[in-house]
Amino acid sequence: MTAISDREPQPWQDQLFEVLKGADIRQVGYVPDAGHSRLIARCKADPDIRDVVLTTEEEGIALSAGAWLGGQRSALLMQSSGVGNCINMLSLIRACRFPMLMLVTMRGEWEEFNPWQVPMGSIVEPALKLCDTHVAKVEQPEQVVPAVQNALQLAFGDDRSAAVLLSQKLIGRKVWVK
């Protein structure tokens, strides 16, 4: 197997954009991650999608709630460490039954160079489940589109919180540049 790097665009990243676009996602909040860089660039280039760079991921939960009050669908992009920053704000989603779509690029689980990523990376799935969020974990490129389509259906069809975790196996090893 050829090792992939998180700096090279993968076909699934463009497919992911098309799925979000097709689902009429109009606001995308994010704290950047290398694994989301292609998606962020595509969102920024699209005049019908408002990209909102956040200082912390919990802002994106509140942003999504506001967007929905205004009749727009949104998505939140973040790295696994950001999930920990969202926990209390997810109460808003549950208390009001807002739709909430989260796309999470994983760190701390596979070929992880930085051990400080492991504590949060290792508890993302149970932590989200405790917050009443549906969680799907994707490790193969061909699983990305169906997993996100299903999460879209859960979020906007059932008015609830749904997350797709994009594995490090999918994204590739983080490139460390000196």
Partner: protein, 193 residues
Amino acid sequence: MMFERRATMATLLADRPKNLFLVPGLGSCTWDAFAAGDDDRNFYLWGAMGGAAMIGLGLALAKPNARVAVVTGDGEMLMGMGSLATIGVQKPKNLSIVVFDNGLYGETGMQESHTSGGVDLLEVARGCGIERVMDIADEAGLKELAGLLATHEGTLFARVRIAPDDPPRVLPEKDGIVIKDRVRRAVEIATRP
């Protein structure tokens, strides 16, 4: 000048246009909003501390022909201070953030907040690139602010120094689903072309 919070909220909403939506921060500002008169255009917050300004931003971006006013306390604003940076980058034309600043955490026993310790939210807002920043000094300033909530073409941040009182609580609807659905419907109706 120190303002009385209930009267201040009432003044801000007195000539409310039909497309002005209010996001009051949890606790006292939500009680103040309800005391001024229940309204389908109020997204009462019972939690989500630190999130009021971002809820306002999401709504303002989604509906450019709605007016959005976030009215929140100093403690709630401090918890979401980063959102002022996010809003400073987005610069929506239809969003105002008003902080009722008494320098105290009112709901928890009047402990001093950072604004009692020298932190100036006006300087924070300026530093975040918010174009119009106002310190409300008197009744005329408050009336001007009320007008700007309806008309200002840009992002606005205002501080209103509030007296440290604790008026009796008046509690609005508590069911988040009901609150969300009625605000969403009201947005749809108010912004129909």
